[in-house]
């Protein structure tokens, strides 16, 4: 089992996300995170999916996703040849005693403090998922009040290496 990042370019149609997630649900593929975004081509959206599975499962996931009519390209973004980023917002309960220590952690991780309230503070951190995991580990001793992560978004380094399949739909 390993974590894999798939980049899926799809026609920018209503319902395409439902189709992709319905497929994952139906086939029993596990999604760790999923994010949808616009691209430089208004006709296309990019769905970045983090899935766990071995090579055989991953082959199935790629092939089944590729079969959807609205899927124009599916490719794997390797950690080595791609850039992966995720955004974290985390609200930590903090008083005057704990604030300096929290601030020190945030400085080391280059996290931003974007809200300070009498009983809490909110950090923003962008980075590779591992970095975010590590940051959260450092916060483990403090009361986490709320947390959200965007899920991974990713690009391959260098020139794009995929080809779009023919557009079938009006």
């Amino acid at each position: 089992m390993s974590r894999n990042v798939l980049s899926v370019l799809v026609d920018n149609h209503a319902g395409v996300l439902a189709r992709v997630s319905s497929l994952f649900g139906r086939r029993g593929f596990n999604i760790d995170s999923l994010s949808v975004s616009a691209t430089n081509d208004p006709a296309l959206s990019r769905i970045t999916i983090v899935v766990s599975g071995d090579e055989t499962e991953l082959e199935q996931i790629i092939k089944q996703t590729a079969k959807l009519v609205e899927t124009r390209a599916v490719f794997r973004v390797e950690q080595s040849s791609g850039v992966l980023r995720e955004l974290l917002l985390v609200k930590v309960g903090a008083d005057e005693q704990t604030r300096p220590a929290l601030r020190e952690i945030s400085v080391i991780y280059k996290a931003k403090i974007i809200d300070l309230s009498p009983g809490s503070m909110v950090f923003e951190l962008t980075g590779e998922p591992e970095k975010i995991d590590a940051f959260l580990e450092m916060l483990a001793g403090y009361p986490i009040l709320e947390l959200c992560r965007t899920g991974v978004t990713a690009l391959q380094r260098g020139a794009p290496e995929y080809r779009l399949k023919e557009r079938l739909l009006p």
Partner: protein, 611 residues
């Protein structure tokens, strides 16, 4: 021209001459257009939308052309669901058109509103909701293309009621008269049209900057994947040439080769090439339920059905093979009962038009994605003419130990009835089955079969499939007899379609294997649940002969084989007589009859039950 008339023109353009369906509120506009086009498009009304869907499917399976079914919104569309899923699982090309409530009422839980596009998402290749009449042409053309292309399957098009009434071309004017060039019934290329429309809309060209120029990806397999499994071009992309050579080398070097083929060979029309391949290198072949009839029952190379109820020789040959060529088959749990023990000694080569089938259930050593007919044609010249005397001898010994049911002419034995049916109906007959014991007996014992002429719900296993499918097929069968083989359980599900067969004089002879129980489930209860017959003996008192009279069709009951022989021949001649129409023949059989041999689910050869 309104949306409904445009739909008729588009159906004609796609070569549709007949559709199956059932009217209702949301499709009133479409039915009004059908009235106007009744000289060019025949509409067949069934008793139930499910029957219409199976009929369109049966038509498609027999002819290879895309079947069309039409239903209204809400319950009309949900009644199609089983039929669509049946077509999906067996890769049958189908376009289902549903009406929906008007666009202004969508999302308000309006009367007879249901989100059929959402419901059918996992059981269609693709589906559409037409939001405006100007999308209709592009969508219908895309629907027919998707249904038939590559691995065939069902596509659903949902048309809200106001869209089917809209005047075509109206949006253009509303939007401020963007150019005149949007033909109502444009010429044959929906995709260009779609592209050009997008350009107008957003100024985005097809040659998007995202498309890098051809950077061929290293692995053959991955290339296909990333191209989206597209099989558009030649299936023999350069990299697969080496795979083709490798496959041929494996086959040429094999001592114990076997070909295992499925419905894909039927769909691709690759039966003749398969036969050549088998003969050239003396390779025995085994088939799935979906591929019955591709090779003749008596052909030397045909070891018959494989899997749960397959032949001893077929299952054993696959188990002991050193090279297995898998063609158009998906190694389902009814064949690869235990994937870890499936052809465990073999180098496995898999041909499939759907690249996702390769390595899905059982991993293979050599993948040949693409059209099975083209790949067979490319493989043939690379295969050496040779024999495998030792292997053939071994297979002959297994054949001699094949399961042999006992004859008994004084009653009706399923295997004898099946043999008699095929003897009398002849080589040109089309067999359509329901699901259960009778289905497997038919697959095991109906001897004379043509390709595309054993129509059965193999993947979904839909009880109640048979009658609708047989009626649908009968419209395109010409003089060929259509025999619907069913059991009393399956028949009870959808026998309401008798009224359809009567209305249209469909010459379908239905043979009902009546054991008064749900035989297949009961057989499992006997074998694995210590005869706890839960809900399989419903104590029905249905008199099929009287029931037939109520529907207005002739029916007969037989008590032994001699009676059956005469009655079945008479039924065929009545069905195709001066006034053609349906006939039923009821065959009471013992409720303890079983389908044998049997390998339990998840089991392997050692677990085979022979008596």
């Amino acid at each position: 021209m309104n949306g409904s008339q445009l739909l008729m023109e588009l159906l004609l353009e796609q070569g549709v001459e007949r559709i199956f369906g059932y009217p209702g509120g949301a499709v009133l506009n479409i039915y009004d257009a059908l009235y106007q086009y009744s000289d060019r498009i025949q509409h067949v009304i069934t008793a139930h939308e499910q029957g219409a869907c199976h009929a369109a499917d049966g038509y498609a399976r027999l002819t290879g052309k895309t079947g069309v079914v039409l239903a209204t919104s809400g319950p009309g569309s949900t009644n199609l669901v089983t039929g669509i899923a049946t077509a999906y699982m067996d890769s049958s090309p189908l376009v289902a058109i549903t009406g929906n409530v008007g666009t202004g009422l969508i999302g308000r839980d309006s009367f007879q509103e249901v989100y059929i596009a959402g419901i059918t998402m996992p059981i269609t290749k693709h589906n559409f909701v037409v939001r405006h009449v100007d999308e209709l042409a592009g969508i219908i053309r895309a629907a027919f293309r998707i249904a038939a292309e590559g691995r065939p399957g069902p596509v659903l098009v949902d048309i809200p009621k106001d869209v089917s009434a809209q005047e075509a071309g109206s949006r253009r004017q509303e939007a401020g008269g963007v150019t005149q060039g949007f033909p109502l019934i444009p010429d044959s290329s929906p995709l260009q049209e779609a592209g050009s429309r997008r350009q107008e809309a957003g100024g985005v060209t097809q040659g998007s900057p995202l498309i890098p120029d051809s950077s061929p990806l290293q692995e053959a397999g991955s290339r296909r994947q990333e191209a989206g499994g597209a099989t558009q071009g030649s299936p023999l992309i350069p990299d697969s040439f080496s795979l083709l050579e490798a496959s041929a080398a494996l086959i040429n070097g094999a001592k114990r080769p076997v070909i295992y083929f499925g419905g894909g060979v039927n769909l691709a029309g690759a039966g003749e090439l398969l036969r050549e391949l088998c003969r050239k290198a003396q390779i025995p072949a085994v088939h799935t339920l979906m591929a019955a009839g591709v090779l003749g029952y008596e052909e030397e190379c045909n070891l018959g059905l494989i899997g749960m109820h397959g032949n001893v020789a077929a299952n054993r040959a696959v188990y002991e093979a050193d090279v297995l060529l898998i063609a158009g088959a998906r190694l389902s749990d009814r064949v690869a009962l235990n994937p870890a023990k499936f052809a465990p000694h073999a180098k496995r080569i898999q041909i499939d038009v759907d690249p996702a089938e390769i390595n899905k259930n059982v991993t293979v050593h050599c993948a040949l994605p693409g059209d099975v007919k083209e790949i067979f044609a490319a493989l043939l010249p690379r295969i050496e003419e040779r024999g495998h005397p030792e292997w053939s001898a071994k297979i002959a010994t297994w054949k001699a130990r094949e399961y042999q049911p006992q004859d008994d002419d004084s009653v009706l034995k399923p295997h004898q009835v099946m043999r008699t049916i095929s003897e009398i109906a002849g080589e040109e007959a089309i067999y359509v089955t329901d699901v259960g014991q009778h289905q497997l007996w038919a697959a095991q014992y109906v001897r004379h079969l043509r390709p595309r002429s054993f129509i059965t719900s193999g993947g979904l296993g839909t009880m109640g499939f048979g009658y609708g499918a047989a009626i649908g097929a009968s419209f395109s069968a010409g003089a060929r007899p259509v025999v619907h083989i069913t059991g009393d359980g399956s028949f009870h599900m959808n026998l309401n379609e008798a009224c359809t067969a009567v209305s249209y004089g469909a010459p379908v002879v239905t043979v009902i294997f009546n054991n008064t129980v749900l035989g297949m489930v009961r057989q499992w209860q006997t074998a694995f649940y210590q005869k706890r017959y839960s809900a399989t003996d419903p104590q029905r008192k249905t008199d099929f002969v009287k029931l037939a009279a109520g529907f207005g069709l002739p029916a007969f009951r037989c008590a032994n084989l001699a009676e059956f022989r005469g009655t079945f021949a008479k039924a065929l001649s009545i069905a195709h007589g001066a006034v053609p129409g349906p006939v039923w023949v009821e065959c009471p059989i013992d409720k303890d009859e079983r389908v044998l041999p049997m390998i339990p689910a998840g089991g392997s050869l050692e677990d085979m039950i022979m008596d």
